[in-house]
Symmetry: C2
Subunit: 189 residues, 2 copies
Amino acid sequence: MADINVTAKTTGKTADLTGRSSSSGSQSIAAGEPAWDIIELLFFAYRDFVGDADEVLAKFSFGRAHHRVLHFVNRNPGMKVAELLDILKITKQSLGRVLKQLVDQGYVLQKEGANDRRQRLLYVTSKGEALAMKLAGLQTERIARALKDTGPGTHDTARRFLTAMLDAEGRDRVLRLIARADHARRPRA
Amino acid sequence: MADINVTAKTTGKTADLTGRSSSSGSQSIAAGEPAWDIIELLFFAYRDFVGDADEVLAKFSFGRAHHRVLHFVNRNPGMKVAELLDILKITKQSLGRVLKQLVDQGYVLQKEGANDRRQRLLYVTSKGEALAMKLAGLQTERIARALKDTGPGTHDTARRFLTAMLDAEGRDRVLRLIARADHARRPRA
DNA sequence: CGAAATATGTCAACATGGCTGACATAAATG
DNA sequence: CATTTATGTCAGCCATGTTGACATATTTCG
């Protein structure tokens, strides 16, 4: 749990930009100095990260919007439409468009709520789960490689860094969502 | 340069998800187990990260496309249109649309290349620089806060992790771009 | 019970920012 | 001089976001 993380180790396979920036005193970012490195690395890393999935999705004529819906439904089986809207922060019209396609093509199904019959609870089908897991697998490969290349303890540091990057207001909601999904295991699909 | 990073310190202000995952052995991701935490944190963190800029841009009736152009031109004054296209990986038609608006509204200007008069070298104006720096400042605030909250040594770890997340093929190009921009200081604007 | 609130869906229209394809111009190059 | 290169531009399509207005079924509440 308490992890001693000695990061003297370098990636060792790429032109190294850490040398320059640490020699210019990157520790904590001198007030007023933009964190150019992190800003740009986030841009390029995120693009490559989502790019993995994009290629596969293209074969299904799906886009990132479909991926996001499929991902969260897979992770939170039985979730309400309203919850999904709240997570994605898009309008129901935008969601409706891609959700309809996912349902029509048999990746997602909707069941009436047992208690509240107005609700249309969302589940992935086995076909939907397969695709969601394939996409998650691709992204996990990249993450696992990166964590391995960056050294032990990085998973924890990355998690804490990314958590700290979240808006403070929504942070707990995000963390609760992740924690909840980690427990909600396949009530059925 | 060699940084000893003791990460026993926790963020300490949010519901903590690291406890659960470290207790389930998050070290290096058990083969086949999707890295749900990093996948979802990347999604939410990136959204919040770009959200900072989005709010400001909206006041100028600009979008993320304008931001990206302005950012890279600010960072690489005198860059060629072709270089920018290559960095952004969009078509010249897409670039042309936003670039024209930035030029028309006085954020970016184009000068004939001294050697090659076909080139239209790109520079930010002082107005453009001001906006670019404002946006970078907002994002840097978030990053600096996150790095501070996550503890010393995180800047280096974050940089190395994000670098390792890049496609291996394009990695050196990205690192060279960042390193080059760090040196290219205002040939004028 | 009946009115109001809630969960969801849908139609229409519009904006942004990707894309392809075709074509135009000026300047460099061989 | 012919070709290639750097850039711009017109026209139209697609994906995915938006607003606003309604429709329907169901639950909730006075």
